[in-house]
Point group: C2
Chain length 214, copies 2
Protein backbone atom coordinates (compact mmCIF):
# COMPACT_ATOMS: atom_id res chain seq x y z
CA UNK A 1 0.00 0.00 0.00
CA UNK A 2 2.74 2.41 0.98
CA UNK A 3 4.66 1.37 -2.12
CA UNK A 4 1.64 2.08 -4.30
CA UNK A 5 1.31 5.60 -2.95
CA UNK A 6 4.97 6.26 -3.75
CA UNK A 7 4.48 4.79 -7.20
CA UNK A 8 1.47 7.06 -7.81
CA UNK A 9 3.49 10.10 -6.78
CA UNK A 10 6.29 9.17 -9.14
CA UNK A 11 3.88 8.55 -12.02
CA UNK A 12 2.17 11.91 -11.48
CA UNK A 13 5.57 13.58 -11.33
CA UNK A 14 6.68 11.92 -14.57
CA UNK A 15 3.57 13.09 -16.44
CA UNK A 16 4.09 16.65 -15.29
CA UNK A 17 7.82 16.49 -16.08
CA UNK A 18 6.97 15.36 -19.61
CA UNK A 19 4.74 18.43 -20.05
CA UNK A 20 7.56 20.70 -18.88
CA UNK A 21 10.04 18.96 -21.20
CA UNK A 22 7.82 19.47 -24.24
CA UNK A 23 7.04 23.08 -23.36
CA UNK A 24 10.72 23.98 -22.92
CA UNK A 25 11.64 22.17 -26.13
CA UNK A 26 9.01 24.14 -28.06
CA UNK A 27 10.62 27.33 -26.79
CA UNK A 28 14.10 25.99 -27.68
CA UNK A 29 15.27 26.18 -24.10
CA UNK A 30 17.86 23.67 -22.87
CA UNK A 31 17.51 22.89 -19.16
CA UNK A 32 19.95 21.40 -16.68
CA UNK A 33 19.07 19.79 -13.37
CA UNK A 34 22.08 20.51 -11.14
CA UNK A 35 22.50 18.15 -8.20
CA UNK A 36 25.10 17.48 -5.52
CA UNK A 37 25.79 17.35 -1.78
CA UNK A 38 25.27 20.39 0.45
CA UNK A 39 28.26 22.70 0.01
CA UNK A 40 29.62 20.96 -3.09
CA UNK A 41 29.64 24.35 -4.86
CA UNK A 42 26.53 24.32 -7.08
CA UNK A 43 25.65 27.99 -6.58
CA UNK A 44 29.28 29.14 -6.73
CA UNK A 45 29.68 27.38 -10.08
CA UNK A 46 26.62 29.19 -11.50
CA UNK A 47 27.87 32.53 -10.15
CA UNK A 48 31.08 32.10 -12.13
CA UNK A 49 29.63 30.38 -15.21
CA UNK A 50 26.72 32.69 -16.04
CA UNK A 51 28.79 35.88 -16.60
CA UNK A 52 31.08 33.86 -18.91
CA UNK A 53 28.27 32.85 -21.30
CA UNK A 54 28.24 34.60 -24.72
CA UNK A 55 26.17 37.82 -24.75
CA UNK A 56 23.39 36.32 -26.87
CA UNK A 57 22.92 33.34 -24.54
CA UNK A 58 20.46 34.41 -21.89
CA UNK A 59 19.95 32.20 -18.85
CA UNK A 60 17.49 31.91 -15.97
CA UNK A 61 17.95 30.03 -12.70
CA UNK A 62 15.56 28.21 -10.39
CA UNK A 63 17.03 27.63 -6.94
CA UNK A 64 15.80 24.86 -4.62
CA UNK A 65 16.43 24.89 -0.88
CA UNK A 66 14.70 23.76 2.30
CA UNK A 67 14.80 27.32 3.64
CA UNK A 68 16.18 30.84 2.96
CA UNK A 69 16.32 32.74 -0.35
CA UNK A 70 20.08 33.28 -0.18
CA UNK A 71 21.05 31.29 -3.25
CA UNK A 72 18.54 33.07 -5.50
CA UNK A 73 19.81 36.42 -4.16
CA UNK A 74 23.40 35.42 -4.97
CA UNK A 75 22.37 34.44 -8.51
CA UNK A 76 20.29 37.62 -9.04
CA UNK A 77 23.51 39.62 -8.69
CA UNK A 78 24.71 38.12 -11.99
CA UNK A 79 21.79 39.94 -13.67
CA UNK A 80 19.72 36.93 -14.78
CA UNK A 81 16.18 36.00 -13.79
CA UNK A 82 16.39 34.11 -10.50
CA UNK A 83 13.59 32.30 -8.67
CA UNK A 84 13.77 30.57 -5.28
CA UNK A 85 11.73 27.53 -4.33
CA UNK A 86 11.62 26.66 -0.61
CA UNK A 87 10.65 23.03 -0.23
CA UNK A 88 9.72 23.40 3.48
CA UNK A 89 11.42 20.18 4.45
CA UNK A 90 11.17 18.14 1.24
CA UNK A 91 14.55 16.67 0.30
CA UNK A 92 14.25 17.28 -3.47
CA UNK A 93 12.50 19.42 -6.08
CA UNK A 94 9.63 17.90 -8.03
CA UNK A 95 8.01 18.77 -11.36
CA UNK A 96 5.05 20.57 -9.74
CA UNK A 97 7.39 22.95 -7.90
CA UNK A 98 9.30 23.66 -11.11
CA UNK A 99 6.10 24.29 -13.08
CA UNK A 100 5.03 26.87 -10.48
CA UNK A 101 8.45 28.55 -10.61
CA UNK A 102 8.35 28.65 -14.43
CA UNK A 103 5.27 30.88 -14.26
CA UNK A 104 7.52 33.58 -12.74
CA UNK A 105 10.08 33.42 -15.56
CA UNK A 106 9.93 35.14 -18.96
CA UNK A 107 10.72 32.08 -21.04
CA UNK A 108 10.72 33.97 -24.36
CA UNK A 109 13.81 35.82 -23.15
CA UNK A 110 16.04 32.81 -22.40
CA UNK A 111 17.77 29.93 -24.16
CA UNK A 112 19.07 28.10 -21.11
CA UNK A 113 17.52 27.21 -17.75
CA UNK A 114 19.56 26.03 -14.77
CA UNK A 115 17.61 24.30 -12.00
CA UNK A 116 19.72 23.95 -8.86
CA UNK A 117 18.22 21.16 -6.80
CA UNK A 118 18.22 20.80 -3.00
CA UNK A 119 21.66 19.85 -1.65
CA UNK A 120 21.32 16.07 -1.42
CA UNK A 121 23.12 13.20 -3.14
CA UNK A 122 20.17 10.78 -2.91
CA UNK A 123 16.55 11.97 -3.12
CA UNK A 124 16.68 14.36 -6.14
CA UNK A 125 17.84 11.50 -8.39
CA UNK A 126 14.37 9.91 -8.31
CA UNK A 127 12.39 12.91 -9.58
CA UNK A 128 12.49 14.12 -13.16
CA UNK A 129 11.95 17.87 -13.55
CA UNK A 130 11.56 17.70 -17.33
CA UNK A 131 15.22 18.62 -17.74
CA UNK A 132 17.32 18.13 -20.87
CA UNK A 133 20.05 16.60 -18.75
CA UNK A 134 21.71 16.28 -15.37
CA UNK A 135 24.83 17.98 -14.06
CA UNK A 136 26.24 16.37 -10.90
CA UNK A 137 28.62 18.42 -8.78
CA UNK A 138 30.99 16.32 -6.66
CA UNK A 139 33.69 18.17 -4.77
CA UNK A 140 37.22 16.87 -4.25
CA UNK A 141 36.89 17.32 -0.48
CA UNK A 142 34.01 14.81 -0.38
CA UNK A 143 36.35 11.96 -1.34
CA UNK A 144 36.83 9.76 -4.41
CA UNK A 145 34.47 6.97 -3.31
CA UNK A 146 31.14 8.66 -4.02
CA UNK A 147 29.96 7.13 -7.36
CA UNK A 148 29.69 3.60 -5.97
CA UNK A 149 28.30 4.76 -2.63
CA UNK A 150 25.60 6.94 -4.27
CA UNK A 151 24.96 5.06 -7.55
CA UNK A 152 21.42 6.33 -8.18
CA UNK A 153 22.72 9.90 -8.42
CA UNK A 154 25.71 9.23 -10.64
CA UNK A 155 24.15 6.72 -13.03
CA UNK A 156 22.05 9.29 -14.93
CA UNK A 157 24.57 12.17 -14.99
CA UNK A 158 25.39 13.79 -18.34
CA UNK A 159 28.44 15.41 -16.82
CA UNK A 160 30.14 15.26 -13.44
CA UNK A 161 31.86 18.45 -12.31
CA UNK A 162 34.72 17.62 -9.97
CA UNK A 163 34.76 20.93 -8.11
CA UNK A 164 37.35 22.34 -5.65
CA UNK A 165 40.19 20.89 -7.72
CA UNK A 166 42.33 23.70 -6.22
CA UNK A 167 42.27 21.80 -2.89
CA UNK A 168 43.30 18.44 -4.36
CA UNK A 169 46.89 18.43 -3.14
CA UNK A 170 45.65 18.76 0.43
CA UNK A 171 43.40 15.72 0.27
CA UNK A 172 43.86 12.01 -0.44
CA UNK A 173 41.57 12.22 -3.49
CA UNK A 174 42.69 9.96 -6.36
CA UNK A 175 41.28 11.05 -9.74
CA UNK A 176 41.89 7.56 -11.19
CA UNK A 177 39.80 5.96 -8.44
CA UNK A 178 36.87 8.31 -9.05
CA UNK A 179 37.13 7.79 -12.82
CA UNK A 180 37.24 4.01 -12.40
CA UNK A 181 34.06 4.08 -10.29
CA UNK A 182 32.30 6.31 -12.83
CA UNK A 183 33.26 3.91 -15.64
CA UNK A 184 31.44 1.15 -13.76
CA UNK A 185 28.36 3.21 -12.84
CA UNK A 186 27.99 5.43 -15.91
CA UNK A 187 30.68 5.22 -18.63
CA UNK A 188 28.90 7.79 -20.87
CA UNK A 189 29.20 10.71 -18.46
CA UNK A 190 31.77 13.42 -19.10
CA UNK A 191 33.99 14.32 -16.14
CA UNK A 192 35.43 17.82 -15.84
CA UNK A 193 37.86 19.10 -13.22
CA UNK A 194 37.00 22.65 -12.17
CA UNK A 195 37.39 25.18 -9.39
CA UNK A 196 34.68 27.76 -8.76
CA UNK A 197 37.20 29.48 -6.48
CA UNK A 198 39.98 30.11 -9.00
CA UNK A 199 38.12 29.51 -12.28
CA UNK A 200 40.19 26.61 -13.55
CA UNK A 201 38.30 24.43 -16.05
CA UNK A 202 35.62 27.06 -16.71
CA UNK A 203 36.53 27.76 -20.35
CA UNK A 204 35.98 24.06 -21.03
CA UNK A 205 32.75 24.12 -19.01
CA UNK A 206 31.39 27.13 -20.93
CA UNK A 207 32.18 25.36 -24.21
CA UNK A 208 30.44 22.24 -22.98
CA UNK A 209 27.31 24.23 -22.06
CA UNK A 210 27.26 26.36 -25.24
CA UNK A 211 27.82 23.28 -27.40
CA UNK A 212 24.57 21.82 -26.06
CA UNK A 213 22.25 24.76 -26.76
CA UNK A 214 19.20 23.95 -28.87
Amino acid sequence: MKVNVMSDILKANDLLAQDIKEMLKKKQIVSWNIMGSPGSGKTSILERLIPMLPGDVKAAVIEGDLATSRDAERIAKTGVQSTQINTQGACHLDAAMVRTALEKIDLDDISILFIENVGNLICPAGFSLGETGRIIVSSITEGDDKPEKYPSMFKNAHVVLLNKIDLKSQTNFRIDNFTREMKKINPQADIMQISATNGSGFTELVNWVVGRLL
Copy 2:
Protein backbone atom coordinates in the same frame (compact mmCIF):
# COMPACT_ATOMS: atom_id res chain seq x y z
CA MET B 1 -4.11 10.62 2.61
CA LYS B 2 -0.42 10.71 1.63
CA VAL B 3 0.29 12.72 4.77
CA ASN B 4 -1.47 10.13 6.92
CA VAL B 5 0.66 7.32 5.53
CA MET B 6 3.81 9.30 6.33
CA SER B 7 2.49 10.04 9.80
CA ASP B 8 1.82 6.33 10.40
CA ILE B 9 5.37 5.46 9.36
CA LEU B 10 6.81 8.05 11.72
CA LYS B 11 4.63 6.85 14.60
CA ALA B 12 5.66 3.23 14.07
CA ASN B 13 9.30 4.33 13.92
CA ASP B 14 8.99 6.29 17.16
CA LEU B 15 7.52 3.33 19.03
CA LEU B 16 10.34 1.07 17.87
CA ALA B 17 12.93 3.75 18.66
CA GLN B 18 11.55 3.99 22.18
CA ASP B 19 12.03 0.21 22.64
CA ILE B 20 15.64 0.51 21.45
CA LYS B 21 16.27 3.45 23.77
CA GLU B 22 15.01 1.56 26.82
CA MET B 23 16.90 -1.60 25.93
CA LEU B 24 20.20 0.28 25.48
CA LYS B 25 19.65 2.23 28.70
CA LYS B 26 19.08 -1.00 30.61
CA LYS B 27 22.44 -2.22 29.32
CA GLN B 28 24.07 1.13 30.23
CA ILE B 29 25.04 1.80 26.62
CA VAL B 30 25.22 5.39 25.41
CA SER B 31 24.41 5.71 21.70
CA TRP B 32 25.16 8.48 19.21
CA ASN B 33 23.39 9.03 15.89
CA ILE B 34 26.08 10.58 13.66
CA MET B 35 24.75 12.57 10.73
CA GLY B 36 26.17 14.85 8.03
CA SER B 37 26.58 15.39 4.29
CA PRO B 38 28.28 12.82 2.05
CA GLY B 39 32.03 13.19 2.48
CA SER B 40 31.84 15.39 5.58
CA GLY B 41 34.17 12.94 7.34
CA LYS B 42 31.89 10.83 9.58
CA THR B 43 33.77 7.55 9.07
CA SER B 44 37.21 9.21 9.22
CA ILE B 45 36.30 10.77 12.57
CA LEU B 46 35.31 7.36 13.99
CA GLU B 47 38.52 5.79 12.63
CA ARG B 48 40.57 8.31 14.60
CA LEU B 49 38.34 8.56 17.69
CA ILE B 50 37.80 4.88 18.52
CA PRO B 51 41.50 3.98 19.07
CA MET B 52 41.81 7.02 21.38
CA LEU B 53 39.07 5.83 23.77
CA PRO B 54 40.26 4.54 27.18
CA GLY B 55 40.98 0.78 27.21
CA ASP B 56 37.94 -0.05 29.34
CA VAL B 57 35.52 1.80 27.03
CA LYS B 58 34.45 -0.67 24.38
CA ALA B 59 32.55 0.62 21.36
CA ALA B 60 30.56 -0.87 18.48
CA VAL B 61 29.59 0.81 15.23
CA ILE B 62 26.59 0.49 12.92
CA GLU B 63 27.26 1.93 9.47
CA GLY B 64 24.44 3.08 7.16
CA ASP B 65 24.92 3.48 3.41
CA LEU B 66 22.87 3.11 0.24
CA ALA B 67 25.38 0.60 -1.10
CA THR B 68 28.80 -1.03 -0.43
CA SER B 69 30.21 -2.30 2.87
CA ARG B 70 33.32 -0.11 2.70
CA ASP B 71 32.68 2.00 5.76
CA ALA B 72 32.06 -1.02 8.02
CA GLU B 73 35.27 -2.58 6.67
CA ARG B 74 37.21 0.59 7.47
CA ILE B 75 35.81 0.61 11.01
CA ALA B 76 36.47 -3.12 11.54
CA LYS B 77 40.19 -2.39 11.19
CA THR B 78 40.03 -0.46 14.48
CA GLY B 79 39.17 -3.78 16.17
CA VAL B 80 35.61 -3.00 17.30
CA GLN B 81 32.39 -4.74 16.32
CA SER B 82 31.24 -3.22 13.03
CA THR B 83 27.96 -3.83 11.21
CA GLN B 84 26.89 -2.45 7.82
CA ILE B 85 23.31 -1.63 6.88
CA ASN B 86 22.63 -1.10 3.16
CA THR B 87 19.43 0.88 2.79
CA GLN B 88 19.01 -0.03 -0.91
CA GLY B 89 18.02 3.47 -1.89
CA ALA B 90 16.45 4.80 1.31
CA CYS B 91 17.91 8.19 2.25
CA HIS B 92 18.13 7.54 6.02
CA LEU B 93 18.33 4.80 8.63
CA ASP B 94 15.21 3.94 10.61
CA ALA B 95 14.63 2.20 13.94
CA ALA B 96 13.70 -1.13 12.31
CA MET B 97 17.02 -1.27 10.47
CA VAL B 98 18.91 -0.49 13.68
CA ARG B 99 17.02 -3.13 15.65
CA THR B 100 18.01 -5.74 13.06
CA ALA B 101 21.65 -4.63 13.16
CA LEU B 102 21.66 -4.75 16.98
CA GLU B 103 20.94 -8.50 16.82
CA LYS B 104 24.42 -8.93 15.31
CA ILE B 105 26.18 -7.05 18.11
CA ASP B 106 27.29 -8.40 21.51
CA LEU B 107 25.77 -5.63 23.60
CA ASP B 108 27.07 -7.01 26.89
CA ASP B 109 30.59 -6.24 25.67
CA ILE B 110 30.14 -2.51 24.93
CA SER B 111 29.43 0.77 26.68
CA ILE B 112 29.11 2.99 23.62
CA LEU B 113 27.37 2.58 20.27
CA PHE B 114 28.03 4.83 17.29
CA ILE B 115 25.42 4.75 14.53
CA GLU B 116 26.71 6.44 11.38
CA ASN B 117 23.68 7.46 9.33
CA VAL B 118 23.42 7.70 5.54
CA GLY B 119 25.28 10.75 4.17
CA ASN B 120 22.45 13.27 3.95
CA LEU B 121 21.79 16.60 5.68
CA ILE B 122 18.00 16.34 5.46
CA CYS B 123 16.16 12.99 5.69
CA PRO B 124 17.90 11.34 8.68
CA ALA B 125 16.80 14.23 10.94
CA GLY B 126 13.18 13.00 10.86
CA PHE B 127 13.79 9.47 12.15
CA SER B 128 14.72 8.65 15.73
CA LEU B 129 16.89 5.55 16.11
CA GLY B 130 16.49 5.42 19.89
CA GLU B 131 19.80 7.26 20.29
CA THR B 132 21.01 9.03 23.42
CA GLY B 133 21.94 12.04 21.28
CA ARG B 134 22.92 13.40 17.90
CA ILE B 135 26.35 14.30 16.58
CA ILE B 136 26.27 16.43 13.41
CA VAL B 137 29.40 16.57 11.27
CA SER B 138 29.66 19.72 9.15
CA SER B 139 32.89 20.23 7.24
CA ILE B 140 34.58 23.58 6.71
CA THR B 141 34.63 23.02 2.95
CA GLU B 142 30.81 22.88 2.87
CA GLY B 143 30.57 26.56 3.82
CA ASP B 144 29.42 28.50 6.89
CA ASP B 145 25.77 28.90 5.78
CA LYS B 146 24.53 25.40 6.53
CA PRO B 147 22.63 25.70 9.87
CA GLU B 148 20.00 28.10 8.47
CA LYS B 149 19.77 26.27 5.15
CA TYR B 150 19.31 22.84 6.79
CA PRO B 151 17.58 23.78 10.06
CA SER B 152 15.86 20.43 10.72
CA MET B 153 19.25 18.73 10.94
CA PHE B 154 20.97 21.27 13.16
CA LYS B 155 18.14 22.03 15.55
CA ASN B 156 18.37 18.73 17.46
CA ALA B 157 22.17 18.35 17.52
CA HIS B 158 23.90 17.77 20.86
CA VAL B 159 27.25 18.66 19.32
CA VAL B 160 28.36 19.92 15.92
CA LEU B 161 31.79 18.78 14.80
CA LEU B 162 33.29 21.34 12.43
CA ASN B 163 35.58 18.94 10.58
CA LYS B 164 38.43 19.68 8.11
CA ILE B 165 39.52 22.69 10.16
CA ASP B 166 43.00 22.13 8.65
CA LEU B 167 41.63 23.45 5.33
CA LYS B 168 40.08 26.60 6.78
CA SER B 169 42.70 29.08 5.55
CA GLN B 170 42.01 27.98 1.99
CA THR B 171 38.26 28.65 2.17
CA ASN B 172 36.07 31.67 2.88
CA PHE B 173 34.56 29.94 5.94
CA ARG B 174 33.84 32.36 8.81
CA ILE B 175 33.58 30.63 12.19
CA ASP B 176 31.64 33.58 13.64
CA ASN B 177 29.01 33.31 10.90
CA PHE B 178 28.48 29.59 11.52
CA THR B 179 28.33 30.17 15.28
CA ARG B 180 25.81 32.99 14.86
CA GLU B 181 23.53 30.76 12.77
CA MET B 182 23.80 27.92 15.31
CA LYS B 183 22.86 30.33 18.13
CA LYS B 184 19.62 31.07 16.25
CA ILE B 185 18.79 27.47 15.36
CA ASN B 186 20.07 25.62 18.42
CA PRO B 187 21.88 27.61 21.13
CA GLN B 188 22.34 24.54 23.38
CA ALA B 189 24.57 22.61 20.97
CA ASP B 190 28.30 22.40 21.60
CA ILE B 191 30.52 23.26 18.63
CA MET B 192 33.97 21.69 18.31
CA GLN B 193 36.60 22.41 15.67
CA ILE B 194 38.40 19.24 14.62
CA SER B 195 40.40 17.65 11.85
CA ALA B 196 40.19 13.92 11.23
CA THR B 197 43.22 14.38 8.93
CA ASN B 198 45.68 15.83 11.44
CA GLY B 199 43.92 15.01 14.72
CA SER B 200 43.44 18.54 15.99
CA GLY B 201 40.59 18.84 18.50
CA PHE B 202 40.43 15.08 19.16
CA THR B 203 41.61 15.21 22.79
CA GLU B 204 38.68 17.52 23.49
CA LEU B 205 36.35 15.26 21.48
CA VAL B 206 37.44 12.13 23.40
CA ASN B 207 36.81 13.97 26.68
CA TRP B 208 33.39 15.04 25.46
CA VAL B 209 32.48 11.44 24.56
CA VAL B 210 33.92 9.88 27.73
CA GLY B 211 32.20 12.52 29.86
CA ARG B 212 28.84 11.34 28.54
CA LEU B 213 29.18 7.61 29.26
CA LEU B 214 26.37 6.11 31.38
